[in-house]
């Protein structure tokens, strides 16, 4: 019998995994409800459960955060998790993203008639992966969390069975994501082979006391790990999947990919490269430098030629990934803090923008062409105004949180010194200006005249040009300009159009904006403005976003 032996059990700190456990609990609760209750359950109930769950997760994060501030950072679950400011703050940002996702999904689910907990339950599970990634202190743990995050996202991307584009997006995402995961694990194998551990703390300790005589295999492993992460955050040249997947996926799922997936992946990327691989900074810095430049430029230029708003925002999120990579180029603790700041800011902006896009998409989730935004301001001033705010924030206009984020990263980069860093600052500024063009393009379209007027205009215009050409043959002096038939014709046409518009308002494909979407947009807009006007709050928060070692 083996009973006499004592087993050394790892000490499990359940507080350390409380935010994640709450999310999983919420998802299981929804599945259990869907399995046991035979009648149709209103999507509002699922949205409320998701919202409350994410708030509870944030609450657990706050308790954990206060605990860390009082008693210091610590390793939990046998060194697999690092409970520190960085991980907890990113985890709370994930919670915020899920809360806004729950709100904006409610309108979507009701509109599309999707009764079932799948979208929200998968969102919660995916968010669990992102929160774990932010805290994971072991390469295996990071991989597991990455898969929890990704597998749910593959399903989310393909959830819209009526649109073939959704299935296409899921297949593309699954295959490329599978490849990138394989590359990532291959890299982990090399790192383990050369350092003897997958634990980030032990890898860092190994490099503190040892020097590899032949570090070729480690460099291969490090590069493969970087490639694996670059796929997940859609950094150039591993971005190719992102516009197609963003466009094809159901819009709430797209918002989830743009926010939660990036939060988790960037958090893990930073932790690995700034804690375990920091001794090899000289080697990975040029790689990240090149990737950042390519990402910034492609994100800026790629968005210019798009006519689909979701695709545009995909390129915009590629451009943001470039900015976040700048924080990694800075390298030191300052860089990590500014990245966290950027991630928090980006979460609010992107969730707000996608909440608006979800509403504008209309029934069927198809109205994402830029022509669908024409004249939005006339019927939905609140939607178009908040969309303009979010897009301005993405462009980095002052007094929005987007400016604070970009300023934070660029000032850290400039203060890190070196010719290369100034080159990067200039590239980043130029790309920011270029990408402002397509943000403004959407804004201008929403504030231009509605679709219907374009349909009425051509005929009267043709008449008036006809009159004008006739006029040339007459003696012009006989006609004073005030009574010119040309002018009368034009005046008459505008009145006609105005009257037609007043009598029968244009058909509104959007209809009434759901209350939950309005709340989601309001929360995001308030955060965008308040944190933009008082950036001190954010800077104070991220000053605690430090690694354990």
């Amino acid at each position: 019998m083996l009973a006499a032996q004592t087993l050394a059990l790892p000490k499990i700190s359940y507080w350390a995994i409380a935010p994640e456990a709450i999310l999983i609990g919420g998802a299981l609760l929804m599945l259990a409800m869907s399995a046991t209750i035979r009648s149709k359950i209103d999507p509002v109930i699922f949205s409320i459960i998701t919202f409350v769950t994410s708030l509870a997760s944030i609450g657990a994060g706050v308790i954990l955060y206060i605990n860390v501030l009082k008693h210091g950072k610590y390793l939990a679950i046998d060194g697999a998790l690092s409970v520190d400011g960085f991980g907890i703050i990113v985890g709370m940002a994930v919670g915020v993203a899920i809360a806004i996702f729950a709100l904006s999904s409610e309108g979507f689910l009701s509109r599309e008639g999707w009764d079932g907990p799948e979208l929200l339950a998968l969102g919660l599970l995916s968010g669990t992966g992102a929160e774990l990634m932010a805290m994971a202190n072991d390469l295996i743990m990071i991989f597991l969390a990455l898969e929890i995050l990704s597998i749910a996202l593959y399903v989310l991307a393909g959830m819209d069975g009526r649109r073939t584009a959704s299935g296409e997006a899921a297949i593309k995402y699954l295959i490329l994501g599978g490849f990138s995961s394989a590359i990532f694990v291959y890299g982990i194998a090399f790192v383990y082979g050369t350092t003897g551990s997958t634990n980030l703390a032990q890898i860092a300790a190994f490099f503190a006391t040892n020097l590899l005589a032949h570090d070729g295999l480690f460099l291969v492993g490090m590069t493969l790990v970087l490639i694996g992460f670059a796929f997940k955050v859609a950094a150039v040249p591993f971005h190719v999947w992102s516009p197609d997947v963003y466009q094809g996926a159901p819009t709430p799922a797209t918002s989830f990919m743009a926010s939660v997936a990036k939060l988790g992946a960037f958090a893990a990327l930073l932790r690995v490269f700034l804690s375990a691989f920091i001794s090899y900074k000289q080697d990975w810095q040029p790689l990240v430098f090149g990737v950042a430049i390519a990402t910034l430029l492609l994100g800026a230029f790629g968005g210019l030629v798009q006519n689909n708003v979701k695709r545009m925002l995909a390129y915009s999120s590629i451009s943001h990934a470039g900015f976040i990579l700048l924080g990694l180029v800075v390298g030191a603790e300052l860089g990590a803090q500014r990245v966290v700041l950027y991630l928090i800011a980006y979460t609010f902006i992107v969730m707000g923008a996608f909440s608006v896009i979800t509403v504008v998409g209309g029934k069927g989730d198809n109205g994402h062409d830029i022509s669908n935004y024409r004249g939005l301001a006339r019927q939905h001033p609140y939607l178009s105004g908040s969309l303009a705010l979010f897009l301005m924030a993405q462009a980095g206009v002052p007094f929005t949180v987007g400016f604070v984020a970009k300023f934070g990263v660029l000032s850290a980069l400039a203060s890190s010194g070196g010719v290369g860093s100034y080159t990067l600052v200039v590239v980043a500024l130029v790309s920011s200006v270029i990408s402002a063009f397509y943000y403004l393009r959407i804004v201008v379209v929403t504030y231009s005249s509605p679709v219907g007027i374009g349909a009425i205009e051509p005929e009267p215009l043709a008449e008036s040009t006809h009159v004008a050409s006739e006029l040339e043959s007459f003696n012009v002096d006989e006609l004073s300009m005030e009574y010119s038939p040309l002018k009368v014709a034009v005046d008459y046409d505008i009145e006609e159009i105005e009257r037609a518009l007043d009598e029968s308002p244009l058909e509104d494909p959007i209809g009434k904006v759901p209350l939950s979407s309005t709340i989601a947009i309001s929360i995001s807009a308030t955060a965008t403005v308040v944190l933009g006007v008082f950036p001190g709050i954010l800077f104070a928060l991220v000053s605690h976003a430090t690694f354990l070692f």
Binding site: L2, A3, Q5, T6, L7, L9, I12, I24, L28, L31, A32, S34, A35, T36, D283, P286
Partner: protein, 166 residues
Amino acid sequence: MASYLPIFCLIVLAFLFAALSFVASGLMAPKRKSAAKIAPYECGIVPTREPAERFPVRFYLVAMIFIVFDIEVIFVFPWALISQELSTFGLVEMVVFAASVMIPFAYLVSHGALDWGPIKKSIPQLTNEERTTTSTVQKISVPARVSSDSVVTGEKVDLSAPGDAA
């Protein structure tokens, strides 16, 4: 940056090799086309029969449920061997684990993942509960009335009724 020179050289060499291979095969390879050679996935053998038919997607579902239970057993088996040593801690962890497997399984079963045979309840919106087989048969016997009724009242036409009655 200088240490990246070998990698750069290797990339250039790789591109050159690929390009030269294409050019060389285009110039030097003999071109004698036959039906077997220009077939997609050419392997020298002309296919003689069609590939396998499609089969129901439900097999995938069953396979996936099988994998889930497979993995559960992977965890349950070692626990069963040393459940004495793991004591309460092990029991609690296993209960949590089993719950997180069984709840999604209950969800799958309740949504018809294991229902074989003709699909009945997965299209509930097509049938109207107020209509019975008798009432529907009466209405269908007068085609014109049915079409005008369904237009005016906006009722959904009961698609399943005639087949079910038979």
